[in-house]
């Protein structure tokens, strides 16, 4: 009998060790436990361990920066799912979109989420910029981070614009034709810029491939690196809340 009891005890302690190895500090019942959790947890390390209540007031931040980042994550995840089914060639792209819409399990829902999240991100990033401007949060010592944020707003627009071409329907090809035609008007470099961007004189296979590569690798990578800098600077320059 005692052998069985010892075995059960041992089993419980192993399970306890397993749970404890993930949730190291237990429930955050005291400030000290909570602080230790915030300090040692990878996911939480983006936050300072201690914050002033006025810094994180929702009526001040409106969560706009955080929501922009979250939408970036949503777009990455839904985008990965779409990439499993999508081939960036004028032969396949449109049919793949039809399949996503009508054949692939949850394909339509995921595509819709990707589309609407992209529009939402343009809006939240813009509103985040408006909030930072209206609260004067760009002032010393945050001038540099405001510049990084401006580039991130630009990257958000470019990400959305490059994605616009990928369905390869009448809406996307002509929107991108109109959009890239604007580049043509720059003095001297204009026509070359456009040629470089779409890999030809008209929006075709090369443009689709270039936009695809920029959309799924180039621009997200640039945005990710700038976001790392942006968040790092928020921590180093301090939260702007509490006017």
């Amino acid at each position: 009998m005692s052998v069985i009891r010892a075995a059960i005890d041992e089993m419980f302690s192993v399970v306890g060790q397993m749970v404890g190895s993930v949730f190291r500090h237990g429930l955050p019942l005291t400030d000290k436990i909570a602080a230790r959790t915030a300090l040692t947890n990878f996911v939480l390390h983006i936050h300072p361990v201690r914050v002033r209540r006025s810094w994180i007031r929702m009526s001040y931040t409106l969560c706009l920066g955080g929501l922009s980042f979250f939408l970036f994550i949503v777009l990455t995840v839904t985008g990965l799912y779409l990439m499993f089914y999508y081939v960036p060639s004028t032969q396949h792209a449109y049919q793949d979109m039809r399949d996503l819409q009508f054949v692939v399990t949850f394909g339509g829902l995921i595509r819709n989420m990707h589309r609407w999240a992209a529009h939402a991100m343009v809006i939240t990033v813009w509103l985040h910029m408006a909030r930072v401007f209206l609260t004067g949060a760009y002032k010393k010592p945050r001038e540099f981070n405001w510049g990084v944020g401006t580039l991130l707003l630009l990257l958000t627009l470019l990400l959305s614009f490059t994605g616009y071409l990928l369905p390869w329907d009448q809406l996307s090809i002509w929107a991108v034709t109109v959009g890239t035609n604007m580049a043509k008007y720059a003095p001297i470099a204009g026509p070359y810029t456009r040629y470089l961007l779409i890999g030809g004189r008209v929006v075709g296979d090369n443009a689709l491939l270039r936009f695809y590569v920029l959309h799924v690798v180039g621009l997200p990578l640039a945005a990710f690196l700038l976001m790392v800098v942006h968040f790092w600077r928020v921590r180093k320059d301090g939260f702007s809340g509490g006017l």
């Binding site: 400030d31 201690r50 829902l109 819709n112 609407w116 209206l134 004067g136 009448q170």
Partner: protein, 180 residues
């Protein structure tokens, strides 16, 4: 057995009492704005709620609204009007009004450079809205112009990108860039 349990409870209470003593907060919680709090779980919980709300919102919108997918791209057939995505419609609107070099290149470049330079141009050290009237009015004007241009480009530009009252008077020639 009973003694053992009582001993264990007593021991635990001693440990708890000791912990309370050691971890006694140096300042009394006052729930004021200036109070320093541990970011976990209060702050993290707020973020969690915001992300859950956004996820639910996105899923509901995505079930309700289909993302547009028109006919297959046809380089030989230009729809009229051809429109850029909505966030570039302000630019397209400017292009229809000003010389292309100015509207398509000079203007956006100027706005981007100006935006990056804003912290260095705004010499006013105050962050109080009441002391930043000029900055706030300028920003409000800028926002109004941008939003107005986007709305005009989206809803009031029809065939050949000429003015179209269709969205107000009925029978618009275009539905946000798509043929109706």
């Amino acid at each position: 057995m009973a003694t053992e349990a009582r001993d264990r409870i007593a021991a635990r209470e001693r440990v708890e009492a000791r912990r309370r003593q050691v971890e006694a907060p140096s300042t009394v919680r006052d729930d004021s704005d200036d109070e320093m709090i541990v970011s976990f779980p209060e702050f993290v919980f707020k973020e969690f709620i915001a992300t859950v709300a956004m996820t639910v919102f996105l899923i509901i919108v995505s079930i309700w609204l289909q993302a547009p997918l028109l006919g297959k791209a046809n380089p030989g057939m230009t729809p009229n009007p051809s429109k850029a995505p909505w966030y570039f419609l302000g630019l397209q609107e400017l292009l229809s009004r000003f010389p292309p070099l100015m509207a398509g290149v000079a203007f956006p470049t100027f706005v981007i450079v100006l935006m990056i330079l804003v912290p260095f141009l705004d010499r006013n050290p105050s962050r109080r809205p009441s002391e930043r009237k000029v900055a706030i009015i300028l920003f409000a004007l800028y926002t109004t112009v941008v939003v107005a241009l986007v709305i005009i480009g989206t809803f009031f530009r029809g065939h050949e990108f000429v003015w179209d009252w269709g969205w107000v008077l009925g029978n618009p020639q275009t539905c946000g860039g798509k043929p109706c």
